[in-house]
Every structure is written in C-alpha cells, then in structure tokens.
C-alpha cells in the first residue's frame, strides 16, 4: 500500500509542473479511500452481502495491523482472510462467473507490497522484535504461496489498478471538476497570456499601480489556499475524507503557482483568480471553506498598493521577511513563497541583478531553514526548487562579474545600486550545504529501488552546480575558498571510474589519432588529469590540514581505481598518512579505509599480491570491513546502540553508489592470503615458531576443517578454502578451477574492469605458487626432479621454472642445486636425527627466552641507553632467521650482513615498515 501511496503523493508534487496525469491521483485515492468503496459495494451487491462483509472487515483489520506494523496479527488476520475467502468461493463463482473480486485482489496486492517493503528494509528488519521478524518470515512465505493462485489477476490488477469504474460518486465529481478546472486553466491561460504579454512593455508608470493591485489581490487570495495545504499535511490523519481530498487538489494548484517560471507567474495569478471564483461557485455548497478558515493566517501584504517600487523598498521588505527567520511562530513555507513573490516583483521592475542575487540567496537560506531537523533530508519538492534557484543564482553571478559576493562584507557595506555591487553571502557555504543535503536525500532512499536511481540522476545537476561555483571562485576567490570548492568537486569525482584513462594508457596514440580526426581542438581531459590539477592546487595552496588530507586520500583512491599503482603507492608513502590518520575525524578515517581497500584491489590487479595483502589485512582482520568502510551498520552483540549514537553512525554512512563491493574485497584478500600462506605453510611445516600471515584466512581454513563432511563449495569463501586445499598438494589445476570458474566470475571477478587480464594473472600466480608448494612439500621424497617434467606439469615455460627454482635456492628456502647437463634439481636435504631436531627446538626456545629477557629489560628501562634500538634490531634479526631457519638444510652465511642491513635500511623501506606497523593498529571508527 505504502508504495503506491508514496508514489501517488510524489507524483502529485511533481505534477505541479506539468499537466496533471489524472490517473495517478485516481489511484492514490482508490487506495486511500477504499474503505468507502467497500461500503458502496455492499450497497450495490446486496445478495452476497454476508460473505463480502466478512471479507471486507477482515481486510480492514489487516490494513489497520499493517499501519502499525503489527505483523503477528496481520498474519493471523491473513489466515482468517483465506479461510473466509474459501467460504465465499461458491458465491463468487456463482455471482461473478468465477472472477475474483477486485477488492480482494487489491488487498492481496497491498499485502504483498507491504511485506516486500518491510522485507527490503533491512535495517528496519533487524530492529524488529523476534516475534515480529519470525511472523514476518511465515507471513511472507504464506502470502507468496497463496498468491500463486491469483497470479494472473494480480498482474492484471497491477497493470491497471485504477480501472475500477465503481468509484464513489463524490470522488468522481471532484475529479471532473478538477479536470474541468485544469482545462479552464489552460484556456484562460492563453487568453490572459496574450493580454499580459503586452503589459510589461507598456509604460511602467501608468501600468504599475494597477498591476500592483492585481498582485495584492492575488496575494490575498492565495492566503486562503496556502495555509490549507499546510493544515492538510498536519491533519492527514483526519478522517474527513472529503476535505482531505479537496485539499489535495488545492495544494496542487498552489504549488503549481510556487514553482512556475516567474514570467508566467502573473498570468497564472490572473488565471487563478478566475479559477478560484469558479471553484468557489462550484464548491461553496460543500462548505469546506468555512471549516478551514479558522486556520487562515493573514499573509502580510507585499507592498502598499500605490508604493513606488525601488531598490530600498524591496530591500526593506526583504529584511522584514528575513527578520522573521528562525522565530518560533514563523511559517517557513510562507516565507519561501513570499520571497519568490518578491523576486518576481523585483524582476518586473528590473531592480538589477544584485538585488536579484540577494533575493536568490535569501530563498536558498529560507529553503535550508525549512527543515528543522538536521538529520532528516529535505522534501523533494524543495530540493528541486533549491537546485534550480542555486543554479540560476550562480549563472547570474557568473554573468555579472561586477558583483562581489562575499561573506566578509558587512551588512552596512552592501551596495545594490551602483556598479561595483557588494552583496553579503557565501555561495560556497550554500553549495556545501546543498551537497550535504543531496547526500542525505540519497541515504534516505532504499538503494535497490528506482527512487534511488531517480535521485541519483540529480547528481549531474549537483555536479553542474558545483562546477558553476568552481568557475565563480576561479574568477574571484581566495585560495582557501578555491580549495574548499575543489574538494567538493573532488569528492564527486574521485570514486568514478573513467575507462578513457585505461584506454589511453594502453595505446597512447589511439586518442591522438582519434582526436585529430574527430575533434582536433579539444582533447578531452581524462578524470585523472582533472584530479591531478585540482589536487595539486590544494597541495600547494591549502593551509588547513584537513582539506589536504582528504584531497590526498581521494587522489590516491582515484589513482588506485585507474590502476596507477606506483603513483598511488608513492603518494601513500610520501604523505605519511599512516602515521597520523588516527588523529583524524571519523569521516576522514572512513575515506582512509576506503582508500586502503581500493589500493589493495589495485595492487592485486597489478600483480602485487603481497602489497594487496598488506593493504587489506587491517581492514579484514577485524571482521567488520562493512563498518570500517561505512557501508552499513552491524548489529552489536554486547550493548545496544543508543538512538543518539545510531543517528550519528547513520550520518556517516556512505551513499550506496559509492560502496566498494565487500565480497570482492574479501575474495581478493583471501586469495592473496592463500597465495602467500600456502607456500609458507609448506616451507615451514615443522617449524615450532611458525607465524600466521593471515589470521582471517586461517579462520576460514579451520572452520572448514571442523566440518565433518565437506560438500562442494557454494559460497565465495568455500571456493577459496577448497582452492587452498588443492594448492596444498600442489594441484594447481584444481586450485585454478576453484578460483576461476563461472560462479566465481559472476560473483567476483567480473566486477573488475579488465576481468580477463586479472583471471590470467591469477592462474599464472596459482601455477607458480603451486609449484613452490609442491617443491616444498615433496622435496624430501625426491633426490632429483627433472625440470622439463616440472614445467610440463605446471604448464609453465622452462625458463620460468628455472627462475623460480633458482630463486628458492638463492633464498635458501630449498636445499638443492641445479644439475645443468641433465636438467634436474638435485636435493641436498638431510633429515636431522631425533636428537638434532630436539636440539634445534631447544635452541629456538632459548633464543625466545633471551628475546623475552631483553624485551622485559627494555620495557623496564624505557629508552635507557640505545638499548631499545638494539633490542629491536635483534628481534628483527631473529625473525629473519626464523623465516628461513625452519628448513633444516638452511644455512645462513650472511648473518652479519643481514644484521647490518637491518640497522640501516633506507628511506622507503623504513616507510614501508612504518606502514606495516601502522597497519597493525587498526583504524577503527570510534563508537562515540
């Protein structure tokens, strides 16, 4: 029900700009007033009264239950309904030739919609009580099952929900009159339009007074109407259907007036004048006017009838209107209307753009004021209005460079009359607010609905507006302001993927020739270049740290998105962001997390598995990447959020279109963890001090091992785990099949831009790492392995196998050497005796002991001596040894050098180490 309902009212507000599609209204009414309608039915078809009455009463209760979201009762009522229907079935088949009555179908449709809506609203669903959610499940299932029998009827119903002919009489009447009125509108509109067209051109002095009179009349007239609509919104619960209905229509006309172009406005006022008279004639009998009149507030008169309209007068009026701002009793809606009217008047009298801009600006702030609660989005109608006003103001500003608009201009220094105009106001703040409002609107929509898409279409307009403001500030604006507006632009740009960039990267000459042929003059800037330009300006000119930090983060994000891995990495390293991101505000930290996630994905695409793992590990290890990326709230187990806290957290959420796919993220992380971890496990199978590279990956492995029966993999995680198991025995083919297959492609890999390349890269890595795992695992079984046969087994080119094995030998991971004439790997692995093995373990433990001792001492001493340094270095050294010491043949000739190197380490390396350390500290968003 609510969907249609909402649609209905939506369309109403939109329809104010066009001619009204009467159908919509009809529909909305049908649902709204179906109660009356039942009664009507009962009267008409009295033979089946009993059954139908029974049905309708149940439907009524269902509707009531739905209203308060009492799901268990809805369920029970639904069961009653089905029973009643089966009872009524014989009657129906007799009376209606077996056609299911429409009201019944409607009820089913509404019920289905209701369930779908509740079901879709995940957040809401989570908050349902246990009882409620349980019955929701059952209800959904039952309704679904039940509805199957009525599929055809339902489909027909949905196609034309309003085809019902037996709407009640009153309603029909109203409709007719409304349609008439609309017709009249247009009729008179033309007539008057012709008349009015002459008016502005006519000599002002003579015409003005009369026109003002007209205006005055108008404003007085419209008073009756405006408050009506107000009261309507408040009294929507009213049971007085007729009035409600009326007001709907009335509201439409007044709104129409609000929004229409200014030039045509006076025309319409004339029309309306006439129309209203007619309407009065028509509808006086129904007596609604007397009911409402009590609420009417006398709207202040715009100007005296014969006042000379000039700049000071308009300004005085403006100040008068604006001074009411923020007061308790002020009717905010009225204010907006008044301002619009003032704008029209000032335009009629051509009082200059400065005044126009001032009024525009006041309108904008009035619209912002309309909504009292910050956390709630503004109304859609206002939003559309706001966008329009904002754009027209910016266009005015751009067209008139002699107007200075600045918030630093004091009220008394404003200048409207002569050439260098000075207006107080800040378009920057306005556009920032506008942008925030837009985000709020988006967050309000259900991301999977069409609403969201239609809202998202406004993004183009928002970007356009921002672009206008950017232009304005590029002409005149301090660095600080430019930085701020650039940041806004960046924030609308950074998450968008521009395929042009990759195309250019692949073939540099391609766009050049294309451009030469098609558009020789304007080589289109790719988004990366735009980004570069904006960010560089901010880096150079910004003096608040926050804007720069955000710009850097967005810049990195954008680079990472377009596979500029090195640039992105260098920016991360050079900015030292990891060091102080913990001190940043939550939204910057969210951006940081998003950046890291994307950087990880980029590293993965660019074949840097290790880096990908590093980037993602701190996001994944907490197990709540969703929360860290602000893509949804997780239910908390220990303590419930307070409403306040929940509100704050909801404000931080990212709008849906900016989300990073979490499954992709997790999959990339797990696969890179697998590629690193499995060979490592194989190499250090018997090592007492083996470390885990990835905790999350281990958890997955373990949870699958705990299962007594492992079926074929279904989810992404199961696929990775199965692949890991295959890799453990060096079976690359199985492993590759588990990672790259149809299911995984649709789930994960196809989300990448160049998915084919990524898959090839993956298979290549799987082959290599499987080969390594194979060598580690089975080297103690062989004395020699032939390289060609290895290359055959792993379908790798011979030099590649050679290179992999050489690397393993050089790194002393594999105790073997190559025999060139016979092309074999000869193993030198010597199994230690029991005693030796124990001795080695013992040594490990003693080393541990010494380590711990030193650590304890360090901790007690603080920074005594440069002991701390020494300890660190030694620990690092031990870790290094540990990496390779596990292999029994392992021999460390270059201990010394290793140690030396650890002492020094150059800059980038240090940074990377820093980064790693940093990554251990997880950047959680605080729960305030």
């Amino acid at each position: 029900m609510s969907r249609f309902f909402a649609n209905g009212s939506d369309s109403e507000s939109e329809s104010s700009e066009e001619e009204v599609p009467t159908q919509f209204n009809n529909k909305a009414q049908n649902f709204q007033f179906s109660d009356d309608e039942e009664e009507v039915k009962r009267v008409v078809r009295s033979t089946k009264e009993k059954r139908y009455e029974n049905l309708t009463s149940i439907i009524k209760t269902i509707r009531n239950h739905k209203k308060i979201k009492d799901i268990p009762n809805t369920l029970s009522s639904f069961e009653d309904l089905t029973r009643a229907y089966t009872k009524a079935l014989p009657v129906i088949s007799k009376e209606e030739n077996g056609i299911t009555p429409r009201f019944y179908i409607r009820c089913l449709a509404e019920l289905e919609d209701f369930i779908n809506e509740v079901w879709e609203d995940r957040e809401g669903r989570k908050n349902l009580s246990k009882n409620n959610s349980k019955s929701l499940g059952t209800l959904r299932q039952k309704v679904r099952k039940y509805i199957k029998d009525f599929e055809d009827d339902l489909a027909r119903f949905r196609e034309a929900p309003d085809q019902e002919s037996d709407v009640d009489e009153g309603e029909g009447d109203v409709h007719d009159s409304d349609a008439d009125r609309a017709g009249d509108d247009s009729d008179t509109g033309f007539g008057v339009g012709a008349k009015m067209a002459e008016l502005p051109k006519a000599a002002k002095s003579s015409v003005q007074p009369t026109k003002i009179i007209a205006d005055d009349d108008d404003s007085e007239d419209s008073i009756d109407w405006d408050p009506d609509t107000e009261s309507e919104t408040e009294s929507s619960e009213d049971e007085n259907m007729y009035q409600n209905m009326r007001e709907r229509f009335l509201k439409r006309t007044t709104e129409k007036e609000d929004k229409d172009d200014d030039k045509r406005k006076d025309k319409r006022k004339e029309q309306k004048h006439k129309v209203r008279k007619r309407a009065d004639d028509d509808e006086d009998g129904e007596g609604w006017e007397t009911v409402v009149k009590g609420n009417v507030v006398e709207k202040p008169k715009m100007f005296e009838k014969d006042a000379e309209i000039d700049v000071p007068l308009v300004l005085a009026k403006l100040i008068e209107i604006m001074s009411a701002r923020g007061k308790k009793r002020t009717d905010r809606r009225l204010q907006i209307d008044l301002l619009f009217e003032l704008r029209d008047i000032s335009e009629q009298h051509s009082l200059g753009t400065a005044v126009a801009i001032k009024i525009h600006f006041s309108i904008i702030s009035a619209i912002f004021d309309y909504n009292l609660k910050i956390s709630e989005p503004m109304k859609l109608e206002h939003w559309a209005l706001l966008l329009e006003v904002m754009q027209s103001m910016m266009k005015l500003l751009l067209a008139n460079p002699d107007i200075n608009m600045n918030e630093s201009i004091a009220e008394e220094h404003e200048e409207y009359a002569t050439a260098p105009f000075y207006v107080r106001g800040c378009p920057l703040a306005a556009v920032e607010r506008l942008d925030d409002e837009f985000t709020k609107l988006l967050k309000e929509c259900d991301p999977h609905s069409n609403d969201y898409v239609s809202r998202l279409k406004d993004e183009v307009n928002v970007v356009k507006t921002i672009e206008l403001v950017v232009q304005y500030f590029e002409l005149s604006g301090s660095n600080n302001e430019r930085c701020r507006i650039y940041l806004r632009k960046i924030e609308h740009l950074y998450y968008k993927f521009d395929p042009e960039v990759l195309k250019r990267k692949r073939g540099e000459q391609q766009p050049a020739t294309g451009a030469a042929g098609a558009t020789p003059a304007a080589p289109v800037q790719s988004s990366v270049e735009v980004m570069d330009k904006l960010c560089k300006f901010i880096y150079a000119k910004d003096d608040t740290d926050r804007i720069r930090t955000r710009a850097i983060l967005a810049h990195i994000y954008h680079h990472a998105m377009h596979d500029n891995w090195f640039q992105a990495r260098d920016l991360v390293l050079m900015s030292h962001l990891q060091d102080n991101i913990d001190a940043a505000d939550p939204s910057t930290r969210i951006l940081y997390n998003r950046m890291m996630a994307n950087l990880g994905l980029c590293a993965f695409r660019q074949e840097n598995i290790k880096d990908a793992h590093h980037c993602l590990v701190d996001l994944m290890v907490t197990g709540k990447p969703k929360e860290l990326l602000a893509q949804g709230l997780l239910p908390q187990r220990q303590h419930e959020r307070s409403a306040e806290q929940e509100k704050i957290e909801k404000q931080r959420q990212m709008p849906f279109h900016m989300h990073i796919n979490l499954e992709l993220l997790e999959c990339v992380y797990l696969v890179s963890a697998m590629l690193l971890e499995i060979p490592y496990i194989a190499a250090h199978e018997f090592d007492a001090r083996r470390r885990m590279i990835s905790k999350t990956f281990y958890q997955q492995l373990r949870s699958s091992e705990r299962q007594s029966l492992v079926g074929p993999p279904e989810s992404m995680r199961e696929h990775v785990v199965a692949a890991a198991k295959a890799m453990r025995c060096g079976n690359w083919q199985a492993c590759a099949n588990f990672i790259v297959n149809k299911k995984m492609n649709t789930k994960v890999w196809d989300l990448f831009y160049e998915s084919e390349r990524v898959r090839e890269m993956l298979v290549k890595f799987i082959k290599e790492e499987s080969l390594r795992t194979y060598l580690f695992t089975y080297s103690n079984v062989y004395t020699s392995i032939s390289i060609p046969s290895l290359s055959q087994m792993y379908e790798l080119p011979l030099p590649k196998v050679h290179s992999i094995i050489s690397k393993m030998i050089i790194n002393e991971e594999l105790m073997a050497s190559l025999d060139d004439p016979s092309e074999t790997v000869v193993m030198h692995r010597s199994e230690p005796s029991r005693l030796q093995a124990l001795a080695m373990q013992f040594v490990d433990k003693v080393t541990n002991l010494v380590d711990v001792n030193e650590k304890v001492f360090d901790m007690k001493q603080g920074n005594f001596f440069q002991r701390g340094n020494m300890g660190n270095r030694d620990r690092g050294y031990n870790r290094n040894q540990n990496n390779q010491g596990g292999n029994w043949g392992g021999q460390r000739r270059d201990n010394r050098s290793q140690r030396n190197r650890n002492q020094r380490g150059h800059h980038k390396q240090n940074q990377q180490q820093n980064q790693q350390q940093q990554q251990q500290q997880v950047h959680t968003i605080d729960e305030e």
């Binding site: 290179s803 030998i809 050089i810 050497s817 190559l818 060139d820 010597s830 040594v843 030694d874 390396q909």
Partner: protein
C-alpha cells in the same frame, strides 16, 4: 644509443662550466649531430666570460676566423672589470701570504683578528674578494678562483649569505681543476652544511639533487669514491630519497658503483630493492642487468643486457673509465650466482652466458679455482665444472644459531648489573644526608 644518454638530464643539474667536459666528450662520440652540439656549446659558452673558448668554438663551427667586434669589446670589458676587482682586493692580497706560511693561523677567528689588526681588514674586502673569485671563475680561471674562495671560506662566518655560494663555487672550481682530494673535502663540507642548514624541504631537496650530480663527478675520479658513493647514495636516507623523487637516473651510477665494488657485495640486495621500487620511473640496461640476474635469475637476459651495458658505459662521460672493470665484475657476478645455484655446469654453456669463448672461459675458471675463490673441479672429459657441495651439518646450524646468544645475554647481564649498582649508589647517596 641516444635513448640511454643522460647528458641532457645531467646537465640540468650541473653548473654551466661543469657541463663543458660532458659536452666535449659527447662531441667525440657521434651520438648526436656534431653541428648541433657545437652550436649548443657556443650558446652556453656565450653566457660565460670565457672569450677564448667562445672563439675556439666558433672556429670549430667554421663561422669565422676573426673575432667579431662585439667579442673584442666584451673581452676588453672583462679585462677591465677584472682589473678593477683586483684593485679592490689588493690590500688584503698580502694576507693570503700569511695564510700560506702561518700554520698557527688555522683558527679562523684568530686569523680574522690578525687581519683586522695588521691589514686594516673590512667586511667590504671580503665582499669584493668573493666577487673577484666569482669573476675569475666565470672567466675560466679556476685555479686562481680557488685561492680566493679558500680565503673567503676561512674568513666568512657560516651565517654569511654568500657562504653557501662560496662552498658551491669552491667545489666546482676544484672539480674543474681536477683536484680530487680537495674536491672531496669540499664535498663533505658542503654536504654537512646542507644537512645542517635550515632549508625548507623543497630547497633542501633541490640542493641535495645538485650535490648528488656534482658528487658523481668526484666519486668516480677519487680512489675512495667508490665506497663513498654507495655510502652516500644508498645508505643516507635523505639522499636516497632525493634520488628517488628527483633524479632516478642516478640509479645508473649507483648501480655501476655497486657492481664494480667487489667488497661491497652486500649492498647489492639493498640496491636491487631500490631498483625494483623505481623500475617504473627509470630503467636502463645496467639496472635491467641487475634485475635479470638477481630478481628473475634469467641468465640469458643478463647476458644480453651485459652486452648493452658495454655500449651505454662507453658513451657515458661519468663512468666510461670503469668499462673494463664493470664487464669483468659483471661476469663474475653472473658466474657466482650460477655457481650458487648449480652443482654441475657445462663449460660451453657457461662460456656462452659469459660472452666468452670456451677456451677462454675454461682458462678463466681455472684461474678462479686457483685463486681459491671457488670450490670446484673441472671434468675436462665431459667438459663440466662440478661444484664442491658442502653438506650443511645440523651442528653447524646449531652453532650459528646460538652464536650470538651468549654475547647478548652477557651484555644484558652487564647492563642489569650496572643499573643495580647505580641504584645502590643512589640509595647510598640518599642515605648520606641522614
């Protein structure tokens, strides 16, 4: 070949006078059009006061045999200015004599005092001495310029606005007079100054970039330079950073220095990390050679790259002197890596990889074995080299592992002892007052 030529980039970071040797070197290499090069030189020379050199270049360009009037005029102007400047400095000229004999006058303060007392020395004199030195340098009279600069250095306080310029000038003059020992000294002094002075980050980066380029000249000519270049470029984070951000092409010289420095083999690993990191901004045959050899273990690729390296080095002014050393050491590197991986190699294959004839290669290996650098035997019947493998005993491993333990524990014990003693003493001290 021009694609690997760095002269163009290097010249951006060198003083005008320092570029002449590079450009002259290029003239002999026929990489670029001779005519263009000479014109470029002429262009550059015109900006200096070296009239004779200008003339010379003009002759080489076959412009004209006679000196144009404008040049004659300039020459006389230059001489006049020189004269004037020399006159200004004359009063303190004698002072330099004391400087030469008076060993005791090393301390700059006492020296300045003595100057003020005996020669009526004023700050303006210093200024003019600096000007003269600059002018002499402009004229190409580097030798004399150095002596004035030396004087300036001693008298000037490090806070003087010209101090940095003097340092740079001194270094340039010493390089141009091929006085490598003093050049190295000046280099260190300049480096210390840059590191300690309060530059903004950008300025410091710029200064360092310049210093890096100038120092390459010194390092490849000074006998100790080969160690120092590694020390400075690879292990001083500030300079490594400057290389990475400003001038990754310096990696070529760093790589060359590491390759020809047999005693610093362990620097290789660090170098390779840096090369890999920067591979997207800079690569040339020399860095690629190292990458092939130590990252991909692609011996065939390394062989090809080595071949390219030879031409690159031959055409690079900075490192042309190291060509033979480089080739020899690179071969050895290939061979060493080979031996570490293989236990049995055919000589013919080896010869192939090393760009040698089989006979030569055998001879080379024999020499290596004889010098005990290699534990291997040659099986001449099959034409194999068989490596002596050393089976690693667990005992040795064990010993290696516990090697440092006793040392560390002892150290720790010592520290604790000292600490406790200190504490005891403190407590004893505090008791004293009661």
């Amino acid at each position: 070949m021009a694609q690997f030529d760095l002269t163009r980039i290097n010249c951006q970071y060198l003083d005008r006078h320092l570029t002449f040797p590079l450009l002259e070197f290029l003239c002999g290499k026929e990489i670029y059009n001779q005519q263009d090069l000479l014109e470029y030189i002429l262009d550059t020379v015109n900006k200096t006061n070296m009239i004779d050199y200008t003339m010379d270049t003009r002759k080489r360009l076959n412009l004209s045999q006679d000196m144009p009037d404008e040049l004659v005029q300039r020459k006389s102007d230059v001489l006049a200015t020189l004269k004037q400047l020399q006159n200004e400095v004359a009063p303190i000229m004698k002072a330099t004599d004391i400087l030469k004999n008076g060993e005791s006058m090393k301390d700059s303060k006492t020296f300045v005092n003595a100057l003020q007392k005996d020669y009526n020395f004023k700050v303006e004199h210093l200024e003019s001495a600096y000007k003269l030195a600059k002018y002499l340098y402009e004229c190409g009279n580097y030798q004399e310029s150095t002596s004035y600069l030396y004087f300036c250095l001693i008298v000037m306080s490090p806070n003087d606005k010209n101090y940095l310029n003097v340092l740079w000038g001194k270094l340039a003059a010493e390089i141009l007079t091929l006085n490598w020992n003093t050049a190295l000294e000046d280099l260190t002094r300049l480096r210390d100054y840059i590191d300690s002075a309060n530059f903004s980050t950008i300025q410091a980066l710029q200064q360092r970039t310049w210093l890096i380029h100038w120092s390459v000249l010194v390092f490849f000519n000074h006998p100790k330079g080969r160690d120092l270049i590694i020390e400075m470029f690879l292990y001083k984070p500030l300079y490594l950073n400057a290389i990475q951000t400003m001038c990754p092409h310096i990696m070529r010289y760093l790589a060359t220095a590491v390759v020809i420095n047999r005693t610093r083999r362990n620097a290789l690993k660090d170098l390779i990390k840096v090369i890999q990191q920067e591979s997207y901004t800079y690569r040339d045959p020399i860095t690629e050679f190292l990458e092939c050899l130590y990252v991909n273990f692609d011996f065939e690729g390394a062989r090809l790259k080595l071949h390219e390296c030879q031409t690159v080095i031959l055409n690079d002014f900075f490192i042309v002197a190291c060509l033979n050393e480089f080739v020899e050491d690179a071969r050895l590197m290939i061979f060493e890596t080979f031996c570490r991986i293989h236990q049995c190699i055919t000589i013919s294959m080896l010869a192939d990889k090393l760009n040698m004839k089989p006979n030569e290669a055998e001879c080379w290996i024999v020499n290596l074995i004889r010098n005990a650098r290699l534990n291997a035997k040659i099986d001449s019947k099959l034409g194999h080299v068989v490596m002596g493998t050393q089976p690693l005993s667990p005992y040795q491993q064990l010993v290696e592992k516990i090697d440092s333990l006793s040392m560390r524990s002892e150290h720790l014990a010592g520290l604790i002892e000292r600490k406790s003693k200190q504490k005891n003493q403190e407590s004893a001290d505090s008791w004293k007052y009661y």
